[in-house]
């Protein structure tokens, strides 16, 4: 693996920068099509109720209304049909049930029916005219309540009440491990339901043509997943659906599932015109997937030498209305930063009457890390150890076996901890009274999954890059830089375009921190093919057998041509050069992140001010360091909001009472200091440039780091997130 690069590690301006800052970039809500009409969704006011009757006649009679759909408009399908999305499977009945309720509504905000009308106002008025008779049922809103005997049952077909799945990982001899311990700490912590908080609401426009082809324009993290899910819901072949991904205003995992796309398509089929649906902010909060609330109990034993001898975890995550809480990764990551011989982890996926949860940056990991990292903080204090030293004594390294089985390949846990310990922040004094400093670390796996790319050489020596990865965090540029590195060009010489599902090979979601890794591999492989074809052209031109290529220059038999010079002669040497690659890689490199945070707490009001925060993360190799820093800062900011303020505030009837950004308190730039970053580079041997994903691990430590800082500021070990003034003051 070369470690000297011309392009990688530099900070070129982003290819889509001008479009974004001038407003030219087109988002889904901007889309205008000929004869397009508008839709609205009717949502349930009840958290749990049986649907007795739906009467759409008044809505259909309203002037300007073109069509109404309900779950009855879905084509018939076997109840147990499983939809394979390549990165996970879903029961079709759950997928459809969440898009339009059938039989029962399972959360307040559950979509029940949809209307298409001449404009959005008429559509909303018509939706309000749909009459739905409900038989309200008791609701259950937290995992512990849903697991209790006698709890209201959401689904009759789950074998264990509201527990959809039990996960259990066991290693070594737990009792013997705890017997060796001289210090044992056990804590139970709750976290609230929180939302990803992307700025752009979900939207979808669909046109079901008379020839049976369906074209969908939407805001999605994965156009192919949106295509496949929509095709499954509508029971049409995937080749009948084309998805054009519009620009995306944030996703963080929340724009992988489909909500509006199949509904817009059903409406369009009835009307024969394009139908656009755009969510309101309240729709986003109540009708899409937040991340699970949870209860996590962790018990850790440590010997006099500061070595963890045993660790036990019990995790109950709220799945929301349908199975699929992120308790699996929560269980797999709860002790993933440490080498521990004796472990028992039990996880419960529990359905409750809240919106069906979806992924959110390292889904499941912040919840479980909160418990582990605060317990370790308490143990370090009891042993009189520096909290980073305790972690260093137990840090996972290459060869460490995780409780779920696999052993780590090269991983940067020790390097991240050492960087934290050596940082100026960690060695600086705290500024005054009521201040505290906390630290924590966390792990995320990152993902592989398939990706495709095509490179076409232009006669002027530039290269067009065609790819299918939604650009959320600057991937146009991070991918272009990898092509440029291989081709000996500048990043600016690569022209990236993100295209629809008919125009590029299959590409998985922009999620799992995988795009710069996986799509980067596809780009790298395509670029290598381009080099080989260009070398063949030079060999033909010079009538030589061998051509060398280095730093953008082809040479052979005493002659040389730059990439641009040879590109200008492609027409005369055999025609254009265009190369495509599709990968489905192994070699994914997990990432460790750490956070050092200083807070100051007003003892009278309980208000917390974040004074300083330093995020440290192993990037493997930072392709574009500014984008890596941006990911670290973004994940940290979201984690701090999760720790201090954010929560779905539900009333007893299961209605969200703070479904706007006025009341759902996310941190703004005024709430946070400039978040400092330290990029650690422990190259991933599974990628030609050493790339690890960097989008997620950074959100794992903040909850625990903030809790540990608050303890040092207040003397209180808090057991509930958000740690807002009420929690801090014990109100």
């Amino acid at each position: 693996m070369s470690t000297t690069y011309n392009v990688i590690g530099t900070r070129p301006i982003r290819h889509d920068g001008a479009d974004k800052v001038t407003g030219r970039a087109l988002y889904g809500a901007d889309l205008q099509l000929a004869r397009m009409i508008h839709g609205a969704i009717l949502r349930s006011p009840h958290a749990h109720a049986r649907i007795l009757r739906i009467d759409t006649s008044k809505a259909e009679a309203l002037p300007g209304v073109f069509a109404v759909v309900t779950a009855a408009d879905f084509p018939p399908a076997p109840a147990d049909k499983i939809v394979d999305f390549g990165e996970g499977d879903t029961l079709l009945s759950s997928l459809r049930g969440n898009i339009l309720a059938s039989g029962k509504v399972l959360y307040s905000g559950h979509a029940v029916a949809a209307v298409a009308a001449v404009n959005a106002h008429v559509a909303a008025e018509a939706a309000a005219l749909i009459e739905v008779d409900y038989e309200p049922l008791p609701c259950v809103l937290t995992a512990p309540e849903a697991m209790a005997p006698g709890a209201p049952i959401l689904h009759d077909d789950l074998p264990n009440g509201n527990v959809a799945e039990l996960i259990r990982y066991e290693m070594g001899d737990l009792a013997a491990g705890f017997a060796e311990a001289t210090v044992i700490v056990e804590r139970e912590l709750d976290t609230a339901t929180v939302h990803q908080g992307y700025i752009e609401p979900q939207n979808a426009t669909a046109f079901w043509s008379s020839d049976g082809r369906i074209h969908i324009w939407c805001s999605t993290q994965g156009s192919f997943v949106a295509r496949d899910a929509s095709a499954a819901v509508l029971d049409v072949p995937v080749s009948q659906v084309k998805v054009t991904p519009m620009e995306i205003g944030g996703g963080f995992g929340g724009k992988i599932n489909v909500y509006l796309e199949p509904v817009a398509a059903l409406l369009s089929k009835k009307v024969g015109r394009p139908v656009k649906l755009v969510m309101s902010r309240r729709d986003v909060f109540t009708g899409t997937g937040p991340t699970p609330g949870s209860r996590v109990r962790v018990k850790i034993g440590v010997n006099d030498a500061g070595k963890i001898t045993a660790a036990q975890a019990w995790l109950a995550y709220e799945a929301g209305a349908y199975p699929g809480a992120m308790v699996g990764p929560g269980a797999m990551t709860v002790f993933a930063c440490y080498e521990i011989e004796n472990v028992l982890i039990e996880g419960f996926d529990v359905v409750v009457n809240k919106p069906s949860t979806s992924a959110y940056r390292a889904p499941g990991a912040p919840n479980s890390a909160l418990a582990t990292e605060t317990v370790l903080d308490e143990i370090a204090e009891k042993l009189g150890l520096d909290p980073l030293d305790l972690r260093l004594r137990n840090a996972a390294k290459e060869g460490t076996r995780r409780a779920d089985g696999p052993r780590y390949k090269r991983i940067g846990c020790i390097e991240v901890l050492e960087a934290m310990k050596a940082s100026p922040h960690y060695n600086a004094p705290l500024p005054g009274p009521n201040c505290g400093r906390g630290v924590a670390i966390g792990f995320w796996f990152n993902a592989g999954l398939p990706s495709s790319a095509t490179l076409s050489v232009n006669a002027d020596g530039t290269v067009n890059l065609i790819e299918g990865s939604t650009d959320i965090g600057g991937s146009r540029t991070s991918l272009s830089m990898q092509a440029a590195e291989v081709l000996g060009l500048r990043a600016e010489d690569i022209h990236p375009t993100i295209v629809d599902t008919d125009s590029v090979g299959y590409t998985g979601v922009t999620g799992g921190s995988r795009t710069t890794f996986s799509t980067g591999l596809a780009v790298h492989d395509a670029a290598q093919m381009v080099v080989e074809q260009m070398k063949a052209r030079a060999a033909r031109l010079w009538a030589v057998d061998e051509v060398a290529f280095s730093n953008g220059t082809f040479s052979g038999n005493g002659q040389s041509l730059t990439f641009a010079e040879l590109a200008a002669q492609l027409g005369a040497t055999g025609g254009p050069v265009s190369c495509s690659a599709t990968v489905n890689p192994k070699g994914v490199g997990g990432s460790i992140a750490g956070l050092i945070i200083d807070v100051q707490v007003d003892p009278e009001t309980g208000k917390t001010d974040v004074l300083r925060a330093t995020s440290v993360q192993d990037a493997g190799k930072a392709i574009h360091p500014a984008y890596v820093e941006g990911q670290m800062q973004g994940g940290t900011a979201q984690g701090i909001g999760w720790a201090l303020n954010e929560e779905y505030f539900m009333d007893a009837a299961g209605d969200m009472r703070n479904g706007s950004y006025l009341d759902y308190r996310m941190p703004t730039a005024l709430d946070l200091p400039m978040i400092e970053t330290i990029i650690v580079e422990v190259p991933n041997p599974g990628h030609p440039f050493g790339v690890r994903g960097v989008g997620e691990a950074n959100i794992v430590p903040p909850l625990a780091a903030v809790a540990n800082a608050l303890y040092r500021a207040t003397g209180k070990r808090l057991n509930r997130v958000p740690m807002n003034p009420a929690t801090i003051l014990g109100l």
């Binding site: 499983i82 394979d84 990165e87 996970g88 499977d89 799945e165 039990l166 996960i167 259990r168 990982y169 066991e170 990803q196 996703g251 963080f252 995992g253 929340g254 992988i256 699996g328 990764p329 269980a331 797999m332 992924a359 959110y360 940056r361 390292a362 889904p363 779920d404 089985g405 696999p406 052993r407 780590y408 390949k409 995320w444 796996f445 990152n446 993902a447 592989g448 999954l449 398939p450 998985g508 979601v509 999620g511 799992g512 921190s513 995988r514 489905n584 890689p585 192994k586 070699g587 994914v588 994903g693 989008g695 997620e696």
Partner: protein
């Protein structure tokens, strides 16, 4: 022979056995061998939400993934991310 580790909750199908050594050139062949010893176990191993890890890497090939005589095979929760 490759070593296959059983998830804790599948061990009720194996009489508590945590791991087994079994012959085969692919994960699929290993599972055929395991199924012969523990009839019905394959449906507990080949579930939609379980991924297959061979030699510490989740394999995109699943049951078609080649294995070596010293390979380790685990069945773990499938993960993508956000």
């Amino acid at each position: 022979m490759a070593t296959v580790f059983f998830p804790t909750l599948v061990r009720q199908q194996t009489g508590g056995l945590a791991q087994i050594e079994v012959s085969g050139a692919t994960v699929g062949e290993l599972i055929i061998g395991i199924e012969a010893r523990f009839p019905g176990i394959s449906k507990h191993l080949l579930r939609p939400n379980l991924a297959i890890s061979v030699d510490d890497e989740v394999t995109p090939l699943g049951v078609l993934e080649p294995v070596r005589p010293d390979s380790e095979v685990h069945f773990i929760a499938a993960i993508s991310g956000g």
